[in-house]
């Protein structure tokens, strides 16, 4: 589904990603770990196509198509969707109105989705204005439910979410990824950034990657990687130097 080749990305004058290779096949979910500031969000924002993230080398292929310089909305229309870590507040734009716009002609069950995310009370509120950390994340998942992407990216979906809502987040993202379906029928893929690994309790991830200083240093079983990091910290991944 997604193939990234030797991707180098600059923000302003500074190169943040120094040659990333990554392949995610249909139906697979990958998790991305790594210390703060290592470039995880940068990778997701670049895949989505945000303007500040300038690709200087390499390319991004989506279902075989080179999307490296495609506008954001076209990528979204191809089926790429993202749960943001810190989405902007938009004054005057009601969450409900955005959901209708995202749904386009298709009238999905917006009230039903909102209820399932405990967000019915937020449809008439300005998007992200005064939302708590957990509310922002629930609103993001709700938007993705309406958007129905084939490739789901999630940037720290558990951070700021209280214990009560973490299973709601986990289970909802699992549904977005068709985790209730058998692997052979599953078409949706995901790339999820996590620090804590809580999300792994809800989403069976197929592969894990560790990003350090703009490079992916280590691939493997996500739970094993998480355990190593928990016990020995990221320096162990650095020592691993798999690539």
């Amino acid at each position: 589904m997604l193939k990234i080749e030797n991707l180098k990305v600059r923000i302003g004058d500074r190169e943040v990603l120094h040659g990333i290779d990554l392949q995610i096949n249909d139906g697979e979910t990958h998790v991305l770990m790594g210390p703060n500031g290592s470039g995880k969000s940068t990778l997701l924002m670049t895949i989505m196509g945000f303007g500040n993230y300038q690709v200087t080398e390499g390319r991004i292929l989506y279902n075989g198509k080179d999307i490296t310089s495609m506008p954001i909305d076209e990528r979204a229309k191809l089926g790429i969707g993202m749960l943001f870590q810190r989405p902007p507040t938009i004054s005057g734009l009601k969450l409900g109105k955005l959901l209708s716009a995202v749904a386009g002609g298709k009238t999905g069950d917006i009230p039903g989705y909102a209820r399932s995310m405990n967000m019915e009370g937020f449809l008439e509120r300005d998007i992200n204005k005064g939302f708590s950390g957990g509310e922002i994340k629930r609103s993001e998942v709700l938007q993705l439910m309406v958007q129905r992407p084939d490739f789901v990216m999630a940037d720290e979906p558990e951070s700021g979410v209280d214990l009560e809502n973490i299973s709601l987040m986990g289970n909802s993202i699992a549904r977005l990824l068709q985790k209730d379906m058998h692997i052979v029928n599953r078409q949706k893929s995901g790339l999820i950034i996590t620090h804590t690994g809580y999300i792994l309790n809800y989403i069976e991830a197929d592969f894990g990657h560790v990003m350090i200083d703009g490079m992916i240093r280590c691939h493997g079983n996500p739970r094993e990687i998480l355990n190593v990091i928990k016990e020995k910290g990221y320096k162990e991944c650095l020592a691993c130097q798999q690539i």
């Binding site: 909305d73 004054s91 716009a101």
Partner: protein, 369 residues
């Protein structure tokens, strides 16, 4: 006075549409009264609500002796050359709306002022909500789309009695050759509420106004302006509130967009008594190089007043546009959606039909961003 709307129907359909956009509801379905003035000719004065009167100003002055005390009282006749010009009209035109003591009108009264051919239209309105009354007025002002030049001079005096509530919603739909000089002022008595809304989304040569509210004890005023300055438009808008009575409060809110024109947004609140509160908020969006000049003034005189202002001018944040694009909206859709949100000012205490009218006036111009 002739009460004849046939002339409205003789107008070309496009003109009828322009008037409808300013809030004219010919069916009267959601209106309790109506006044229609074309140039200097009064075509309609009608009212169906008990306790509410809609009168041509000459008739009102004749009917009620006390009207003389309300005529050129809130607005002074020698305020400037425009008031002087209106004051010297032998036959004043305009409308007087009176909601008598305790009357609560559910539906608004519409006042429609249409400049079709004459170079100058003068209007003198008096809006009165007597003690305990509730009155909503929607004034739509428009000019013929082909008018090559013209001025509209409109005086409006608002009187809000004790415990009364008066809302005034004014929607303008001029054209690039018209200059507009509204002169209005409100006197708000104890516990009275005055809400004034102004919407101008279409090109106009010049609008200049600075309405004022004088507030007695526990009275409240809220002015909201939602405007777009197109290239060649010069909008010098302000509002003023004098917190004269203990416990009074005022809020002045502006959303201004420039597409190459000029908006000067003045706000002035004076806190001269204890337990008063005032806030000025101006947000400007520059879509095309132009001018948005916010001049908020807060003038506190006593320890017991709390006044504040916030103003911000800038362009649409790129990250907001990109956020919406990541949800599948095109750049144009994303931009329009954000602008629509920017202009969305929900006005507390406004009846739903009027909020809808404001929303519709903004939506109608959406294509024009």
């Amino acid at each position: 006075m002739p009460a004849d709307m046939n002339e409205f129907y003789t107008l070309p359909e496009t003109e009828q549409e322009r008037l409808t956009q300013t809030g004219l509801d010919v069916s009267m379905e959601n209106r309790c009264g109506s006044f229609f003035q074309m140039d200097q000719k009064i075509l309609q004065t009608t009212c169906s609500a008990q306790g509410v009167e809609v009168l041509a100003i000459e008739d009102a002055l004749e009917k009620y002796d006390w009207m003389a005390d309300r005529y050129w009282n809130a607005v002074k006749r020698d305020k400037d050359k425009y008031t002087k010009f209106v004051a010297k009209q032998e036959h004043p035109k305009g409308v007087v709306v009176i909601a008598h003591k305790g009357t609560r009108a559910v539906f608004p009264v519409q006042a429609c002022l249409y400049l079709s051919a004459e170079p100058v239209q003068t209007v003198h309105n008096i809006m009165i909500a007597e003690e305990g009354a509730e009155l909503h007025v929607i004034s739509g002002c428009a000019s013929a789309s082909g008018a090559k030049r013209g001025s509209h001079l409109g005086i409006t005096e608002f009187y809000v009695g004790k415990n009364a509530r008066l809302t005034s919603t004014m929607i303008h739909n001029w054209n690039p050759h018209i200059s507009v000089y509204p002169r209005s002022a409100a006197i708000v008595e104890e516990n009275g509420v005055f809400i004034s809304n102004y919407v101008c989304m279409h090109p106009v040569a010049r609008v200049q106004m600075n309405p004022e509210a004088i507030l007695a004890e526990n009275a409240t005023a809220r002015f909201s302006s939602i405007v777009i300055a197109h290239e060649g438009s010069h909008l010098d808008l302000g509002s003023r509130a004098v917190l004269q009575g203990k416990g009074s409060s005022a809020e002045l809110v502006t959303r201004a967009i420039t597409k190459g024109g000029t908006v000067i947004s003045r706000g002035y609140i004076a806190g001269v008594t204890d337990e008063t509160r005032g806030h000025i908020e101006c947000r400007g969006l520059i879509l095309t190089d132009g001018t948005i000049h916010a001049i908020p003034e807060i003038d506190g005189r006593v320890t017991g007043t709390e006044l504040s202002h916030e103003a911000a001018v800038g362009k649409i944040a790129r990250d907001e546009i990109e956020y919406l694009m990541s949800r599948g909206l095109s750049e144009e859709e994303a931009t329009a959606t954000i602008i629509r949100g920017f202009l969305d000012v929900k006005i507390e205490g406004l009846p739903p039909v009027l909020q809808k009218q404001i929303d519709a006036a903004i939506d109608a111009s959406e294509a024009g961003y």
